[in-house]
C-alpha cells in the first residue's frame, strides 16, 4: 500500500523559545529552536523573552524547519500549535501565525496543550529511529523552571494531573538556591555540577509534605536562606568554603521531595512505568535517583533525549500527529489561553 506520508508542522511560542518542527508519521524530521543562528541571519540583538522576538523569529524558524526536513509547505497535512499555558503575548504570535498559515494552505489546525506535549516528548524519535516509549499507563514527572507536575497518562490523548506544586517549581528551587550562593542564573546546572563533588548529607533541610500528591518548595527555599544567613554571621565565607556540600545537600533535598510524592503516586495508582519531562530532567542527581528506583523498586524508568525535554516544537509536531490521527481539529476562531488545564 502506498500511503501518503503525513507531515505536521508544530509551532511553539509559549514562553522564551520560538520553535518550529516537522514530524512525519510520528517521527521528527526537524526541530528548530530560535537561537544564535537565527539572530545572526537577521541581525541585531533580539531580546530573549519577548513576544516581539517571537514575531521576528517565527517566519525564519518555520522556514528553517521546512528546509531542514526537505518538506514543501504544500505537502503539510496540518499545523499544530501551542495554545497554552504560557505568556499570552507570546502565545498570540504562534497562534496567529498557525491560523493564518493553515488558512492560506487550506489545511486543518490542531491545538496543543504545552504541558501535555511535554509528556509526549517521551515518544520523540528521529526518522529511522526506534521509538523507545514508556508503556501505557505511565506516570510522568514534569519538572521545569515553571512547572512541577505528576501526570497520569492513559493514552496519547487521555492525561490527568494527579499532583502539582502549590507554590514554587522544582527548577525554581534550584535556581534560587544558586542565586543565594551567587551562582549564575539559571543555576540548576551549576548546582548539579557542584553537587557531584559534595556530601548530600552534610546539611539537613526540611522535606515538605503537602496533602495528597502536591508539592511545595517555598518552605525549602526559605530554610536554605535562613540557614545561609545564620552561617554567614559566624563565617562570612561559609558558602564559598562549603559550596559543594551545600549544593549536594540542597539538591538531595529537592530530589527527595520529588521522589517522595512520585513514590506515593506509584503506590496509589499501582503504575510503575515512569517517564520524566521538563528541563530539570537533565539533572544528574534526579536521573540517578530514578535509576536507583528502577533497581530497588522495580520501576521502569524512561528518560527522553534532552532535546525534547526543554521547550521545543518537536513535541508539538508529534502531539499534532497523534491528534491528527484522532481527527481532533479546531476552527479558526480558536484563541490562546494563558492558563490552560488538561
Amino acid at each position: 500500500m502506498n500511503k501518503k506520508p503525513v507531515y505536521i508542522l508544530g509551532i511553539e511560542s509559549s514562553c522564551d523559545e520560538t520553535s518550529a518542527s516537522i514530524s512525519c508519521d510520528g517521527r521528527i524530521l526537524s526541530n528548530i529552536i530560535a537561537g544564535q543562528e537565527v539572530h545572526e541571519r537577521f541581525g541585531g540583538v533580539v531580546p530573549e523573552l519577548a513576544s516581539r522576538a517571537h514575531q521576528q523569529q517565527i517566519i525564519p524558524v518555520v522556514d528553517a524547519a521546512l528546509s531542514e526536513a526537505k518538506v514543501a509547505k504544500e505537502d503539510l497535512a496540518a499545523i499544530a500549535f501551542t495554545r497554552g499555558p504560557g505568556l499570552i503575548g507570546s502565545l498570540l504570535v504562534g497562534t496567529s501565525f498557525a491560523k493564518a498559515f493553515a488558512m492560506s494552505l487550506n489545511i486543518p489546525l490542531i491545538e496543543v496543550n504545552h504541558m501535555q506535549a511535554h509528556v509526549i516528548g517521551n515518544f520523540a524519535a528521529r526518522e529511522g529511529q526506534e521509538i523507545k516509549a514508556p508503556e501505557f499507563p505511565f506516570l510522568c514527572l514534569t519538572v521545569s523552571g515553571g512547572h512541577t507536575q505528576i501526570v497520569k497518562v492513559e493514552s496519547y490523548l487521555k492525561m490527568e494531573i494527579i499532583g502539582q506544586t502549590i507554590d514554587d517549581a522544582a527548577g525554581e528551587a534550584f535556581d534560587k538556591v544558586a542565586k543565594m550562593l551567587n551562582l549564575p542564573y539559571p543555576g540548576g546546572p551549576e548546582v548539579d555540577k557542584m553537587a557531584a563533588m559534595g556530601n548530600p548529607k552534610a546539611f539537613k533541610f526540611p522535606v515538605s509534605d503537602m496533602p495528597g500528591l502536591n508539592y511545595s518548595f517555598s518552605g525549602f527555599k526559605t530554610s536554605v536562606l535562613y540557614f545561609l544567613q545564620k552561617q554567614r554571621q559566624q563565617q562570612a565565607d561559609f558558602a564559598e568554603a562549603n559550596m559543594a556540600d551545600i549544593c549536594a545537600s540542597a539538591q538531595y533535598t529537592i530530589i527527595t521531595i520529588l521522589l517522595k510524592k512520585l513514590t506515593q503516586a506509584v503506590q496509589e495508582t499501582g503504575i510503575k512505568n515512569i517517564a520524566i519531562a521538563g528541563g530539570v530532567s537533565a539533572n544528574k542527581g534526579l536521573r540517578n535517583a530514578l535509576m536507583e528506583k528502577q533497581e530497588t523498586a522495580g520501576w521502569k524508568v524512561h528518560i527522553p533525549a534532552f532535546e525534547y525535554c526543554t521547550d521545543n516544537a518537536g513535541m508539538i509536531a508529534l502531539y499534532g500527529y497523534y491528534k491528527w490521527q484522532a481527527g481532533e481539529f479546531v476552527g479558526l476562531e480558536v484563541a490562546p489561553m494563558a492558563r490552560y488545564g488538561f
Binding site: P47, E48, L49, S51, G89, S90, D168, S218, L225
Partner: protein, 140 residues
C-alpha cells in the same frame, strides 16, 4: 497613607490581606518589596484568596506573569520581574496591557522595572524575622 502590621504570623496572613485590601481599596496595582524568602508570593496567595481567586496561586518567577480569575469574574495578574534583564523585556511581554487594564495587579520584584512603574500605585513592604513578618502598605 501608610499602615503597618507587625509580628504577623502565617495564621494571621488572611486577616492582614483582607485588612490591607480594605485599607487600600482605591488601589489596583500593588508592588511587593522584600528579599527573597520574605514571603511575597505567600502574601499574594492570601491577597488573591481575599479577592475570591480559587485557582492555585503559583510562583510566576518563570512565567513572568500568571493570570487568575477573581470571584467577580475579573482577571487578577500576578507578576514577577525577578528574571528580567532589561526594561525592553517588560515592554516585550506587553506589561502596559496588564497594568493599565484596570484589573488587580500584584507585582513582585518591581525594582527591576522601577522607571516603568512611575504612576499611582500602592507599595507593600514585607520583612521577615523569626517566623513573623512586618507588612507595611503605603500609597498616595
Amino acid at each position: 497613607m501608610t499602615r503597618t502590621w507587625t509580628t504577623v504570623t502565617l495564621e494571621q496572613l488572611p486577616e492582614v490581606a483582607a485588612e490591607l485590601l480594605q485599607f487600600a481599596s482605591s488601589q489596583k496595582i500593588f508592588c511587593l518589596h522584600g528579599e527573597m524568602g520574605a514571603g511575597k508570593t505567600t502574601f499574594v496567595k492570601e491577597l488573591s484568596k481575599t479577592l475570591g481567586v480559587s485557582d492555585e496561586v503559583q510562583s510566576p518567577t518563570f512565567s513572568i506573569v500568571n493570570e487568575y480569575t477573581a470571584a467577580s469574574g475579573d482577571p487578577v495578574f500576578h507578576f514577577d520581574f525577578y528574571r528580567l534583564k532589561s526594561l525592553e523585556e517588560a515592554y516585550d511581554i506587553g506589561y502596559e496591557d496588564y497594568v493599565f487594564s484596570g484589573h488587580y495587579c500584584f507585582i513582585e520584584w518591581p525594582e527591576k522595572v522601577e522607571s516603568l512603574l512611575n504612576f499611582a500605585k500602592a507599595d507593600i513592604f514585607i520583612t521577615s524575622d523569626n517566623n513573623t513578618r512586618t507588612i507595611t502598605c503605603r500609597y498616595e
